[in-house]
């Protein structure tokens, strides 16, 4: 975190094409409670599962 170029800002999770970098899907992270149903998994897991569908 100390080396992070932007410490404050909007955190996004993105699903991109690995060749061109084209963004296929994105999701704004809005804090622990709001972003997902109660779960032991993190937001990354949640986003990944939703992109797999």
């Amino acid at each position: 975190m100390r080396d992070n170029p932007c410490k404050r800002g909007l955190k996004f999770f993105l699903r991109n094409d690995s060749e061109s970098g084209y963004c296929q899907e994105f999701e704004l992270y809005l804090g622990k409670e709001q972003s997902r149903p109660k779960s032991t998994h993190g937001f990354f897991f949640f986003f990944w599962m939703s992109s797999v569908d």
């Binding site: 932007c6 996004f12 999770f13 991109n16 094409d17 296929q24 994105f26 990354f44």
Partner: protein, 314 residues
């Protein structure tokens, strides 16, 4: 990438043992599901490893992880490369970096007697009930999306101008969203203020487009104050911006521009409150546009990004 081998670092039948140097304490790990998909371009052949770790890198043909299921999306997953598998081996042990995760059954330095001595002849440490000959390569099929990119009929890749490419993303729906919500918000706001704003006239799509064009132009040639663009001085003003909209109209649009339906927003603290409600409709629409214009490709990456906060208040 046709053939893929599934390499496991430790399966249920490969009991991992590490002996702590100082205390002599023995820790055992029944490593469960650390499954790595491995490209055959970087094969981790069982034989290429030292004898101590060879059993940890058996090729397994069974569908031992959700990653190898038939799920369409799963084939997008690129897997970890063989380097990860090596890391896993070392990280398990504390004392002896090279031999830390040692499979007892396969290690020549542990004979049966020593095994029994250490673990009291534990039945869990039986020989695995499979052999290398049971294993076969699995083939993960190439992923091909069923969807095709949906371009507007009038769009032609060969002759399209940069502006036409931009309009792929700033669609009619995009303008409609801004137009309706801005007009709705203006009405709502005037009602809330309790007095009408006589300067405001219902926004037209041409004015909205002009407003967005001015915003882009302002980004290209920055000025200390927005009022400078409408300055009467030839040195300060921007003729193009002056032609598009009057300064008063620009101010009014800035005042009422709205993306969400203000009237039906859920207030802070109420159930169902969305912190991103103000931009949610636009984000949803853009997300749909992104997906529509390019079908998902075989190789994709999921990562985290930050957009720097430039505001001065929370």
């Amino acid at each position: 990438m046709g053939n893929r081998r599934v390499v496991t670092t430790g399966t249920a039948c490969t009991n991992l043992v590490s002996v702590h140097e100082d205390t002599g304490a023995v820790t055992r790990e029944n490593a469960s599901s650390q499954v790595h998909l491995c490209d055959t371009r970087h094969p981790v052949a069982p034989d290429s490893k030292g004898s101590s770790s060879s059993a940890l890198n058996q090729d397994v043909s069974a569908p031992c992880s959700p990653l190898t299921s038939d799920d369409e999306g799963a084939s997008d997953f690129e897997g970890f490369d063989s380097g990860d598998a090596d890391d896993e081996e070392v990280s398990g042990g504390e004392s002896e970096p090279d031999d830390s995760d040692v499979d007892v059954a396969d290690n020549p330095t542990f004979d049966q007697e020593e095994q029994d001595e250490l673990f009291g002849g534990d039945a869990d440490f039986a020989e695995p009930d499979w052999t290398k000959t049971d294993l076969e390569d699995i083939t993960v099929p190439h992923f091909q999306s069923d969807d095709a990119a949906q371009f507007p009929i009038e769009f032609s890749h060969g002759t399209a101008t940069p502006f036409e490419y931009l309009e792929l993303y700033l669609t009619k729906d995009f303008y409609k969203l801004l137009l309706t919500n801005t007009n709705k918000y203006a009405v709502w706001k005037q009602k809330e203020m309790g007095k009408p704003n006589y300067a405001w006239k219902e926004l037209k799509i041409s004015e909205l487009k002009a407003f967005l064009a001015i915003k882009i132009a302002m980004g290209i040639s920055p000025s200390p104050q927005y009022a400078c663009y409408w300055s009467s001085s030839d040195f300060m003003c921007n003729v193009g911006i002056k032609k598009l909209l009057s300064k008063r109209k620009y101010e009014l649009i800035s005042q009422y521009l709205h993306v969400s339906d203000r009237e039906n927003e859920i207030e802070h603290g109420q159930p169902g409150y969305d912190r991103a409600a103000k931009v949610r409709p636009l984000m949803d629409q853009l997300g749909d546009t992104f997906t529509r214009l390019k079908p998902p490709s075989e190789y994709q990456t999921i990562h985290e990004g930050m957009a720097k906060y430039k505001g001065r208040s929370a």
